[in-house]
Amino acid sequence: MINITESILVITLLSVLLSLGSTRLMALVQIMALQGIMVSLTPLFLRSHGSLGSGAIIFFQIMILIKGLLIPGLLYMAVKRVAIKREIEPFIGYHASILAGLAILIFSIFITNNLRLSLPEGHDMVLITAITTMAAGFFLMMARSKAITQIIGYLMLENGIYLIGTALTKHSHTLYVVEFGVLLDLLVGVMIMGIILHNIHNAFDDVDTTSPRRLKD
């Protein structure tokens, strides 16, 4: 039978590459939804031995809800309400971005192999995915001009960090309360960013972050 974990992670990686290559915002948002779900599913299947308590079940449901529905929904609304021009307007071209993504992938594999960590089986795959996702998030934030793409980049970064967290640490000493808090912060953060996004749109009738550059020395 195929290893579910592996396939989930592969899908995540795929979503990363797609997000780097996608030229339409809508598509990007949908990809993020997919990625969110995948990321929040991962720990379920990593717990090969772990028996999930009821609390865990609820927690993961909420998680999927937020990462997969709520946040993408917010972004969707943002894109609709703000009526942003559909193109993404990159600093670095799409093909170049994809190549960069591949480079990042190789880089993260390299790192993972060199860490010589005694991870449980399959975990190094998680690590690879995590690092790739993070790096790609940074890449999006730097290589795209629109504010909304930066939010998306930030989301990817968070996903990556979350993956690393799940991959590296036993959950014995981080209780769900804490993770829930993290999640909440993330949610609020995205909401606020959305609001600002809205205002930026009103102020500059574009969300290109290169246009407001009056604050400098």
Partner: protein
């Protein structure tokens, strides 16, 4: 010590009184002056014991759980307290009529308060006995003097002066902090006493780090730049205190640190001596070149600091070579010159203030003939000038003679010390000559001849509260000149705190002092005799008066008089490489020439060098570096990533 503290409290009360009661203007001034004079008198009575019996009294208290503020009053401190407690009250007395602008009451009150604060902090600097207390009061001193300089903040020059002064005190303080912290890191104790336990090479570093700080306060040559800005900017009573007393605190720091380090290395003396020679000569040369009365006096402070340093340097070399006659007379001369300079320099500044207040003219070439309209100011100023030129029978000569005496006894040394001593003597001679030249210029152009402008005509003598201090100071100049024994002995008393110095026998000192006194009195006698002679010659002689002989020119005008500019030019020209003369001459280019103007300006090379070599390059570099805050959020995130990568390489 208690009386000392009491005096400070009384002084402080005066300052606070000024702040509180500034609405009743005259009452405030009177009360303030009364209190500060009372405080000073108490202070003077407090320093008699340490100065005469050499008793050292201390006071100490803990501060913020971890520090202790300790002050000790020994003979050296006591000696430096003399000018503080004599000049400051006179300056305050002077300010009664000098600060008579009734629609700036609060400002005057603030000025009084900070003057008091300055006095107190100076007194405490002179007695501070550990690192913390020294630095604390030192900073208070700088701060209060800064506010005094800013008194006339509405003028652009004043603001510039205040800024420059702030920078210099700031940097100087930094160096002193560094020096003392370094010392602490080796002695593990905040007390000055422990300085002697440092290794020698560290001693040298500490000394020279601190020297930068003290030098910037004292106005040693390359660090003197703030003086000619700050002294003209400040009101004259303040300039009198700052130039007369405050810059001496730098000297005090140098001597005290040297004494505490108990260093006997030749390099200290040689460096101090060299600095003294440079400051002395260049100071007086620049003074010759300046035409703003108070700027000129400011540069003379640099010159006199130079003389003091020469004395100190001679003393240090004497200690290093174990030539105690040289050492003790050098140090004594330096110390005595501290006192003398504080007397005649404040006298001159007060006189300049009177001239300024009555004529509103700074440029000396616009003045003239003032001695007829303001005789008291003129005569006191004349006495001050003769004293600062170091001519007998006035006090300036006494201290310079002691330095000469020490220096000549250093001539028996061999090698480098011999050369240094030669240069010390020669530079003293040059400084003396040039100072005489400069003050003959000031007296001649400002007070003698004919007034060159309308404003300079019939300016009256100032009110008695302004003339009285001048008269007192002028008298002091003469008294010290004619009865020097007591003061010389006091200076030697002050030396007892330098443990490495074994002073010469009292008889030798007394003989020298007596000889000086004898010469001065002889001169006076001869003077009065020849005055008598002249009287006799003029018995029943016809004395008529007419215009000055114009060498055949029949239409003399006040414009024809020799100006200070031309008077000094040939001398300055002699020092060409060290001074930078800018001449603007309209020239005569038509058959019937119109108004021609000729103007020379002497620029300070140190200031120019600082500006061109240090300040502007730094500003340029910083301007380039400001690129990093360019406003691109993408790159800002890039910074973060870059930082991560760099740091991960460290593992």
């Amino acid at each position: 010590m208690d009386t000392f503290l009491l005096s400070l409290i009384v002084l402080l009360a005066g300052g606070l009184f000024a702040l509180l009661a500034f609405r009743q203007f005259n009452l405030m001034k009177a009360g303030y002056i009364a209190l500060s004079i009372a405080g000073s008198i108490i202070g003077l009575s407090a320093i008699r014991a340490p100065l005469q019996q050499g008793i050292t009294s201390t006071f100490s208290t803990t501060w913020l759980h971890i520090f202790s503020l300790s002050f000790s009053l020994d003979s050296l401190s006591a000696f430096f307290l003399i000018p503080i407690f004599t000049i400051c009250p006179l300056a305050t007395l002077y300010s009664f009529h000098y600060m008579d602008n009734t629609n700036k009451k609060s400002r005057v009150a603030a000025n009084f308060f900070f003057l008091t604060l300055l006095t107190i902090s100076m007194a405490l600097v002179a007695t501070a006995d550990n690192i913390i207390s020294f630095i604390l009061v030192w900073e208070v001193m700088s701060l209060s003097s800064f506010f005094l300089v800013m008194h006339e903040y509405h003028k652009k020059d004043t603001r510039k002066a205040g800024y420059i002064y702030f920078i210099f005190t700031h940097v100087g303080a930094m160096f002193i902090f560094a020096a003392f912290s370094l010392a602490y890191s080796y002695t593990e104790s905040f007390d000055f006493v422990s300085f002697a336990t440092m290794p020698d090479n560290i001693k040298i570093i500490v000394f020279f780090l601190a020297l930068v700080g003290f030098g910037s306060k004292a106005g040693i040559f390359p660090l003197h730049i703030w003086l000619p800005h700050a002294h003209p900017a400040a009101p004259s009573n303040v300039s009198a205190v700052m130039s007369g007393v405050m810059i001496k605190m730098g000297i005090y720091g140098i001597i005290r640190l040297y004494a505490r380090l108990e260093a006997t290395d030749l390099v200290y003396g040689e460096v101090i001596l060299t600095l003294g020679i440079v400051s002395g000569i260049l100071g007086v040369v620049y003074a010759l070149g300046k035409h703003d009365l108070k700027k000129l006096l400011a540069y003379h402070s640099v010159e006199n600091i130079g003389i003091i340093l020469i004395g100190t340097g001679i003393g240090m070399i004497g200690i290093a070579t174990d030539n105690m006659v040289m050492a003790s007379f050098g140090f004594a001369g330096g110390l005595l010159h501290v006192l003398n300079h504080s007397i005649f320099k404040s006298l001159l500044f007060l006189g300049a203030g009177a001239v300024l207040q009555k004529t509103k003219i700074r440029h000396i070439d616009k003045l003239g003939g003032l001695i007829k309209s303001m005789p008291t100011t003129g005569k006191t100023f004349l006495i001050g000038s003769v004293s600062i030129s170091g001519l007998p029978p006035f006090n300036g000569f006494v201290s310079e003679f002691l330095i000469y005496y020490g220096a000549f006894h250093g001539l028996s040394l061999g090698g480098s010390s011999f050369i240094f001593t030669i240069f010390a003597i020669l530079s003293l001679a040059i400084i003396g000559g040039l100072a005489a030249a400069c003050f003959s210029k000031v007296i001649g152009v400002v007070f003698l001849g004919e007034p060159r402008t309308k404003k300079a005509m019939n300016a009256p003598d100032p009110e008695f509260t302004m003339t009285l201090p001048m008269i007192i100071l002028a008298t002091a100049c003469i008294v010290i000149g004619i009865f020097p024994q007591f003061f010389i002995m006091t200076a030697f008393q002050g030396l007892q705190s330098i443990s490495t110095l074994h002073a010469v026998t009292t008889n030798e000192i007394i003989t020298v002092a007596d000889n000086l006194a004898f010469a001065a009195r002889l001169l006076l006698v001869a003077f009065f005799l020849s005055l008598l002679l002249r009287k006799i010659f003029y018995l029943k002689k016809t004395v008529t008066s007419g215009p000055t002989w114009g060498c055949g020119f029949t239409q003399p005008s006040v414009k024809m008089q020799y100006t200070g500019t031309s008077y000094a030019m040939s001398i300055i020209d002699f020092f060409r490489p060290f001074v930078d003369i800018r001449t603007t001459y309209s020239g005569i280019n038509r058959i019937f020439p119109g108004r021609t103007t000729y103007k020379t300006q002497v620029d300070d090379i140190a200031e120019k060098a600082l500006m061109e070599r240090i300040v502007s390059p730094i500003l340029y570099l910083l301007a380039k570096l400001r690129w990093i805050q360019h406003g691109h959020i993408q790159l800002y995130i890039g910074y973060i990533i870059a930082t991560i990568i760099v740091l991960l390489l460290f593992i």
